[in-house]
Symmetry: C2
Subunit: 140 residues, 2 copies
DNA sequence: CCGAATCCACCCGGATACTG
DNA sequence: CAGTATCCGGGTGGATTCGG
């Protein structure tokens, strides 16, 4: 019976399938944010207090002004980072994590911790994999 | 003393800066993997057991065969997913999480949980933000 | 059933230069 | 100091087709 009824396993269960509704979308959208090249780095850099634009840039080695600006805008838009403009000259703009932004730190750190802890194994696995299937035989 | 010594705040502290060495790279590479469009979804879908290719595809709504194949290859390469080919006809290939792969579940779930829990707030923040700065003045 | 190959659109992100 | 504007290459991922 129940010919094609989805078994016990729903779309993605556990944390993902509260009601099987638009949860995948939520995960996707959050991942699109913190999964991009700089967002997580910015968040982590803001962990212990506010910083101005240039300070932020100095603390994140490879980032360009453009990318820092864009990243900050997105984070601000999502309500994770607060932007404060001081009406002075020269201008001074400070960024800090919001309440919500701070709650993201814990899971992010957990993931970062996992990454650092398991990177050796992953790297090793890659080498093994590439050693067995390097056969990109364009050669005649 | 310590004229321009970086204060308490290192590059990215806490989990990220074990020794300030190549840890950022580890985080970046892992993020490049699970931060892509499908990897995390695949991992989470494999949480409670092995699945064959087609089942996997059915459980992840929008994914194409191409993307599923590529994602699985990467995960296999990184040693997070194991691939078992049964020499039968028609062919049967099963995928499951490895030991290491399973350790990724916890932090991933934490992040996914955060996403689902905070998505309403984020979504709301976006609307507010877009309401105040929709002024994309393309004025000629 | 599983997957590789090809073609192609899109957008992310880097470099650079210019404003207030 | 804190951005914005423009150009442009490369990677990501979708649609489709072919092969074992």
């Amino acid at each position: 019976m129940d010919p094609q009824s989805q078994p016990a396993r729903s779309e993605y269960e556990g944390a993902c399938a509260s009601r099987g509704d638009g949860d995948g979308r939520a995960v996707r959208e959050v991942l699109d944010r913190i999964g991009d090249k700089w967002s997580l780095l910015v968040i982590v850099t803001l962990v212990d207090g506010l910083l101005r634009f240039t300070e932020l840039q100095r603390h994140i080695p490879g980032i360009s002004q453009r990318m820092l600006t864009l990243t900050l805008r997105q984070l601000e838009r999502d309500g994770l980072v607060a932007r404060t403009v001081h009406a002075e000259v020269p201008p001074r703009v400070e960024y800090e994590l919001t309440e919500v932004g701070r709650t993201l730190i814990e899971p992010s750190m957990a993931l970062a911790g996992w990454a650092i802890e398991n990177y050796p194994r992953i790297s090793e696995a890659r080498e093994r994999f590439d050693a067995n299937a390097p056969a990109r035989p364009p050669s005649p």
